[in-house]
């Protein structure tokens, strides 16, 4: 299985039936494809609706006034509703989303997140990311464990932050790590990696859960 699919499948297990969720761009978007059977999850689109439906490919099905936040022609499922940007971010900021799933450049052991700005590179902007991490009930980071061999899970983020103490769970192709009051709790590791592999590729301090499990997807 592809790394990204693996991560997305594991994140998808985090939802409860009836949850409203906002998925970021990249791996997070894939999560929507792997919601377990029997669980209904409703996707929130920050440009102003809930119940995102499948993407439309067929030219004559497409409504030019219906896109998702990534400018893709999607549909809306029964039960969804349209609203303005004030309400849309009221939903986000007001804790009405059970979770948001986002990518990250860096996460640290205090739960800080950096995913909007790389020093020395062109800044493209913030979008709704800072609102999502300040408001959703749970912030789940879905990302590859390392970037060009370097750990993305650090003792302390060293690039500009998106949010302070905001991350609840980190899911990578190697591990599932919960952010707790006392630090990062390693709860699950992938079938094909060892504890040593995880420790070696994680700069942050990890507390190893007494009932450390294998990731099952």
């Amino acid at each position: 299985m592809d790394k990204k699919e693996f991560i997305a499948r594991r994140v998808a297990q985090e939802f409860k039936d009836g949850d409203f969720v906002n998925l970021g761009i990249g791996i997070p978007t894939l999560v929507g494809n792997y919601i377990p059977e029997g669980i209904k999850v409703y996707l929130h689109s920050e440009n102003g609706f809930t119940h995102i439906g499948p993407m439309l490919e067929n030219e004559n099905e497409i409504d030019p006034e219906l896109i998702n936040a990534s400018d893709q022609h999607v549909s809306i499922l029964p039960g969804g509703a349209f609203f303005d940007s004030g309400v849309s971010f009221g939903i986000i900021r007001g804790g009405h989303l059970a979770a948001t799933v986002l990518g990250a450049l860096q996460v640290d052991q205090e739960g800080n997140l950096a995913n909007w700005k790389i020093p020395g590179k062109k800044t493209v902007g913030i979008g709704g990311g800072m609102d999502l991490v300040s408001g959703a009930k749970r912030v789940i980071i879905a990302m590859e464990h390392t970037s060009k061999g370097a750990s993305k899970i650090l003792k302390k983020c060293d690039i500009p932050l998106t949010g302070l103490n905001c991350v609840d769970l980190i899911v990578t192709e190697m591990a599932v790590i919960e952010v707790t009051e006392s630090g990062l709790l390693l709860k699950e590791i992938a079938e094909d990696v060892t504890l040593e592999d995880v420790l070696a590729t994680t700069e942050a301090d990890l507390i190893i859960s007494p009932d450390l499990k294998k990731i099952s997807v």
Binding site: G18, F20, Y42, H44, F49, T50, G79, G90, H96
Partner: protein, 215 residues
């Protein structure tokens, strides 16, 4: 995800000392059946948030008449004789909030804002205990968000996903309060299947709604 329940099931969620938001303007747009059920439970020590205390037999006014409110956060009490009597006797605490400030404080609570800056009340006795900030030469008071344990909402139409439509002047604080409580219970004149309300015409999205009872 919204769930259709009986009035009896809804009533089981009412507990002593809760904070309850009640929509309605002189009782118009208030969920009378839910309020009757709340009166029947006899729960005590409630804090009520509403535009006014309405009338003794309308809207939140019933909860004053039944002496279930220990505190009212409202803009007006003048037409409810029960509130006036209990207020004079010191049996009910009243926090007077200008009507527009009340609406914004409730909206802020539901939308994750800590508060808002409003010019309303600057230089009046309502300024007491509040921070005054000057922005571009104009003075504002910092007014803090309001939240509740339960919001009691009255809709004209609800679908089974909790999407709501209101009629005419019965809308008032309903859309704001629906978002501002831990549990939002809607009394709907009509409950329809999901998909029967045009998603463009929804006035309160289902994401804010927890329970629906038939009105």
């Amino acid at each position: 995800m919204a769930k259709v329940v009986s009035i009896k099931e809804a009533a089981e969620m009412f507990k002593d000392n809760m904070t309850v938001m009640v929509s309605g303007f002189w009782g118009i747009g208030a969920p009378e059946k839910l309020l009757d059920a709340l009166v029947e439970t006899g729960v005590q020590g409630l804090t009520g948030i509403s535009i006014s205390t309405a009338l003794v037999d309308r809207g939140i006014g019933k909860l004053v008449a039944s002496r279930q409110l220990k505190k009212a956060i409202v803009s007006y009490i003048g037409r409810n004789t029960a509130t006036m009597e209990q207020y004079e006797a010191g049996d009910i605490e009243v926090e007077f909030v200008p009507q527009g400030t009340l609406a914004e404080r409730v909206r802020a609570g539901g939308f994750g804002l800590g508060g808002i800056l409003t010019p309303t009340g600057v230089g009046t006795e309502l300024e007491k205990g509040k921070q005054r900030l000057t922005i571009d030469g104009k003075d504002y008071l910092l007014e803090l968000a309001l939240k509740a344990d339960v919001a009691l909402i009255k809709a004209h139409k609800a679908d089974r996903s909790g999407n709501l439509v209101y009629r005419k002047a019965a809308r008032n604080t309903n859309p704001l309060m629906a978002a501002a409580a831990r549990i939002t219970i809607v009394q709907a004149d009509e409950i329809v299947e999901t998909g029967m309300i045009d998603p463009d015409m929804v006035m309160t999205p289902g994401i804010f709604v927890d329970y629906i009872v038939q009105g």
